[in-house]
Symmetry: D2
Subunit: 162 residues, 4 copies
């Protein structure tokens, strides 16, 4: 992965936030999952989803696929927030560990940039549950899933909007 | 990962298939995504989903989260198919590479057991698209996503059915 | 991954440190790489290696294999430090991101437990370089490699000492 | 990951093999590990190492770090073999599953290209053991480790030779 890029620093924070929000609102799957854009800082994005019986696995917990989708988006938007305004973002690969069943009523997924290169950005993601059903032993802030993700900036691809 | 387990070999294939199908039908998220259980062999499971605009990302392609959810389930059921009948299966971790946008009308996800130990099973997953929109250059059988997944067998956990 | 285990808490810290050090000293590869056990806390282990021309890749930097070996060991011993004294530890899987070339004179690898279950422990690893050759832009504490690792506790395996 | 690149097709196979061999011979760590370049085809590279007590872990088996280093190189050279002659190759990230201890006398690591894009190439790696000590139950061809790796092509980086 190449050297750090400070290119996005010139963009005002408000413009960056508007850019992230506009892209997030075009992700139909996030709407379908009921995902909410909780906070956007440069290099750190928080999304949240409620428990929804439509997206459960065979034991009644939220399906890892829903968890992974929102964690991946949190990492993707964290990466997007440090990219130049003209870039589009795509996930290259991620690794996810499911540490405990996704028990609870609300799930907050946070993506944080670990290192940003010229085209590749590496992020970490953490998913934390709250509400009834979260095991007391887990601790307030113990993540039930963690992710290590590699995102790429794309430029000038026809059909690929931000 | 420990030595191979041949414990499941004693279970008749029809019983194993019925066990996989019963668990699959309890995964509400699979129903929500329109997933279909295409084929079940010992150590190899194929699932398929149609394109669905509700599960798309910002560029109009199927969201990686939907792809990952079904690939994860294909790997999970491949692992489950070689586990003893009394085991429940949970995904410990997976790594996914998104090789190309999920363009197409139908997506077939195949999970295959690479090695089965006493409690841990490692699988590979491949996602292949068909129908209008699949780039001709991709080739008939070129996967647009691949996964390497680690699953675990659980026994005697209250509240965890198969 | 199952619920947290607090089983190791009963072991005095000095006994735990001696247990980790004794196992580390049996890892011949760590000796060959010149690795040093810098610090051991419950759930957090730091190892360090010097630059060594014998372990370089084609561009003259430390080979990713040497980096990964020591990061994997740091994660392994972090996991081992929270396991019961009678357990042996094995790595199940890890994912590593190589963020920048391993340039520098000394490399510190830190493994930290994210979550410890009954048999599976998930850790994060970070590798940081110091000395001549580290790009100034990288920042003092910027990792050049990060890892997400899954370790397992083994009991009563003949031939597997701690 | 972008569309397939057929750019390397124009290079004669003998030139490609010479290019891979020349780069391999500059990897000092491969020499230190006793690694041998067994075969090179476009998109598939086989390396082998002997058992060596200097690179063992605490249970006397070959250390996962040695396994990973050679698997990573096998994947790296498989990717390099399909890149344009002027490119250098770096590993971005990989995920490795250690399926069984590295028991045996000789270890063959094979890297195979899954998909080659313009700058990113995804490979799979498999490690197979032979000789005394390999568990008979494992089967002749059963891998004891598998890898999923993402490599990148670099152009015009000062100080980065092929």
């Amino acid at each position: 992965m190449p050297e750090s890029s400070g290119g996005a620093e010139a963009e005002p924070a408000a413009a960056m936030r508007a850019r992230v929000r506009a892209s997030f609102e075009r992700q139909v799957m996030m709407t379908t999952l009921g995902a909410e854009l909780v906070s956007v800082e440069r290099g750190r994005v928080e999304l949240a989803i409620p428990y929804d019986a439509r997206f459960t696995q065979q034991h009644g917990f939220l399906h890892a696929g829903a968890v992974a989708a929102v964690l991946d988006s949190a990492c993707g938007y964290a990466a997007f927030s440090v990219m130049p305004p003209e870039a589009a973002v795509l996930t290259v690969t991620y690794s996810i560990n499911l540490l405990a069943p996704a028990a609870g009523e609300r799930f907050v997924m946070t993506g944080t940039v670990v290192r940003a290169g010229r085209t590749l950005v590496v992020c970490r993601g953490e998913a934390v549950a709250s509400g009834a059903g979260v095991p007391a032993t887990a601790g307030e802030a113990a993540p039930f899933a963690v992710m290590q993700a590699t995102l790429t900036a794309l430029y000038d691809r026809p059909g690929i909007r931000h």
